[in-house]
Symmetry: C2
Subunit: 379 residues, 2 copies
């Protein structure tokens, strides 16, 4: 018996609005589908049709130059949701990669599950990326953490899946110092132009909605900028209010964050248990925080795809160990990652060969191992 994993078949890719290069036409989903040996059909994102077409033509010319079959890559475009639905329904499509809103990801998942032959949808949807300020770290670095928080929050107008949308800490004077520092830094924070008018409108609506929730207070807002700028917004609330109101867990795509003050560690743990699935969870900690962190880890591991220490979650590295994924609703499929080499596995399935002559085996499985691949074999 020999096993190899082969490509699942043609993959439909829906690129993200916020990464016209890294997560769009020639982005991670497309690269990993190609690496798995699957043809790709990209639905161009309406936010950057020109870039999409330029990149699409570059891929097509590469396909030609490499002597690959013409159908290896296709690009379809248009602002029409119906087009995306038809693509996912098409019987030739065997898997879907998507980065975008929760509503969009769920809609595509439902379409894919209702097909005569259901297919997997790998949708990266939304996350508020909890950041924990543990007591020792908060005591020793409240001011610098406050400054670093606003820098991370306002980078790229906060248009990152991994934006720090939720700050968690024990209430007290150290948290107040953190808040003061954040408030001060916020006054001179950048107010960059947002990617599209619709993202901007959703951001403003999200901020307004959060401001109106019971128990939520405004800590401060950044500079207003012009009509398409992202005006940063930071709110505070208490743990009890947060746990009673699921709306506070909704992602607001842009530079908006909510600081939640917890009365004690048990409440912090209970709050963590009440969180939806997230892409990341971050611990700011010092040696004296290890015991607290050890209580938090088993809870956090069930909630997130990546756990960071003393960093901010916005940086994502493309490597073997990366997980850019996490429990629902961060993604539709916590068994996968959309960044890093493990992303290739999303588009593979195993085939087993029993007693076949070498002439009928894929080269990678032949007794002579002509490709010289590392292989797992029985002794």
């Amino acid at each position: 018996l020999r096993q190899i994993r082969i490509g699942v078949g043609p993959v439909a890719v829906f690129g993200a609005s916020n990464f016209p290069l890294a997560f769009s036409v020639a982005g991670g989903d497309t690269a990993s589908a190609f690496a798995a040996g699957c043809p790709v059909v990209v639905k161009a994102h309406p936010a950057h049709p020109g870039t999409s077409e330029l990149v699409g033509r570059a891929i097509q010319s590469a396909v030609k130059k490499c002597g690959l079959p013409e159908g290896t890559f296709s690009l379809v475009g248009g602002p029409d949701y119906a087009l995306g639905a038809e693509l996912v329904k098409h019987p030739a499509i065997m898997a879907v990669g998507y980065t975008g809103s929760r509503a969009g990801g769920l809609a595509l998942s439902q379409i894919a599950a209702a097909r005569p032959v259901p297919v997997p949808v790998y949708a990266e949807m939304s996350s508020i990326n909890p950041v924990y300020l543990l007591p020792e770290a908060l005591k020793n670095s409240a001011e610098s953490l406050g400054t670093a928080f606003i820098a991370s929050l306002t980078m790229g107008a906060g248009q990152f899946c991994t934006n720090p949308g939720l700050i968690l800490a024990l209430s007290g004077p150290d948290l107040e110092r953190f808040c003061q520092s954040a408030q001060e830094t916020l006054k001179t924070a950048p107010a960059p132009t947002m990617l599209t008018q619709s993202i901007h409108a959703s951001y403003d609506a999200g901020v307004e909605k959060l401001a109106g929730r019971r128990g939520v207070s405004l800590l401060g807002r950044g500079p207003k900028g012009d009509a398409s700028s992202c005006q940063a917004a930071v709110f505070t609330t208490d743990a009890a209010s947060f746990m009673q109101d699921p709306i506070m867990q909704h992602e607001i795509f842009g530079s908006c964050s909510l600081i939640v003050a917890c009365p004690d560690l048990d409440t912090l743990l209970a709050l963590t248990r009440s969180l939806e699935g997230q892409l990341t969870g971050t611990l700011h900690l010092e040696d004296g925080d290890i015991a607290v962190a050890q209580k938090l880890m088993p809870v956090l591991e069930r909630k997130v795809g990546r756990i960071l220490a003393n960093a901010w979650p916005t940086g994502v590295e493309v490597c073997a160990a990366m997980v850019h994924g996490g429990p629902f609703p961060a993604t539709t499929d916590p068994r996968s990652t959309s960044v890093g080499t493990a992303a290739i596995e999303r588009f593979l399935r195993p085939v087993c060969y029993q007693d076949l002559p070498d002439a009928l085996l894929p080269a990678g499985l032949r007794s002579t191992n002509p490709l010289g691949l590392p292989r797992q074999t029985d002794k």
Copy 2:
């Protein structure tokens, strides 16, 4: 950055009716969920409640002996479909393993997909396991292939997921010799008692339905036996009739098979393209058949989970290379296998740790590698 895969959480297992030991309470699904570190809740199969309880109690005593938490294993029972549905709906359940009918597997999949937090269902549902008799092999061994076919078909009253329910060959005198041999062997074939009255009733109904399809002729039936025996049934048809009638692809659980005569190789290939997803595909071939088989392989690889040469598909080995799975509707998830060590992967998801101190890492990821695990590391 370090990555490890952890258990997804509690797994619900629905055992198969046909394997009270190998695929039931302490069967492959339960073993692989345990190996992934997941607690298991088994819904006992109503066909063997006594065996289920005995085995369940043995597992519970093993859990106690090993000092594992009490919730590591639970068994729930009863003939009620509603019980299974409630189990799959329960928010604590994070994945489902199932072996059984297509209707049952699809129902559980739909329930799991409609949950507030959808979870994967690994359902092994139905397969007719096409067996190809390639020209040279058929010419040289028509008679012995006919005998071996009936032996495989009637083993265990044909109550195997991998039963050879479809025989494909080019029409002509060699296929006629095969059919004569099968017909002759059928006369003295065994007629074992079937597992349950409902399986027996479904089998009889399936045979009757297939007998009535346009273009289908009865080749022969086995001995009748008593009221609960499986009376083997072999039918023949032509490729055109088969391709026009999707009903002929429905699995009939028991010793029933359909021989399809194809006028030429192109038709055989077209018929293979028209097949639904299957657990297995088998080639009976000799050296002179390699060229034909090379044309068939790329088509077959898209349709099945395991490809065999010069064997019968009923034997399934538990090893690293095994794939007991395949494209829909053989299973709900062709990326997985329910037999072999790779079955463990169904119940794992990756978690990534960035810059965490050793004290907060799982033992398997610590810099000191205290468990001495083989690990992939950067140079």
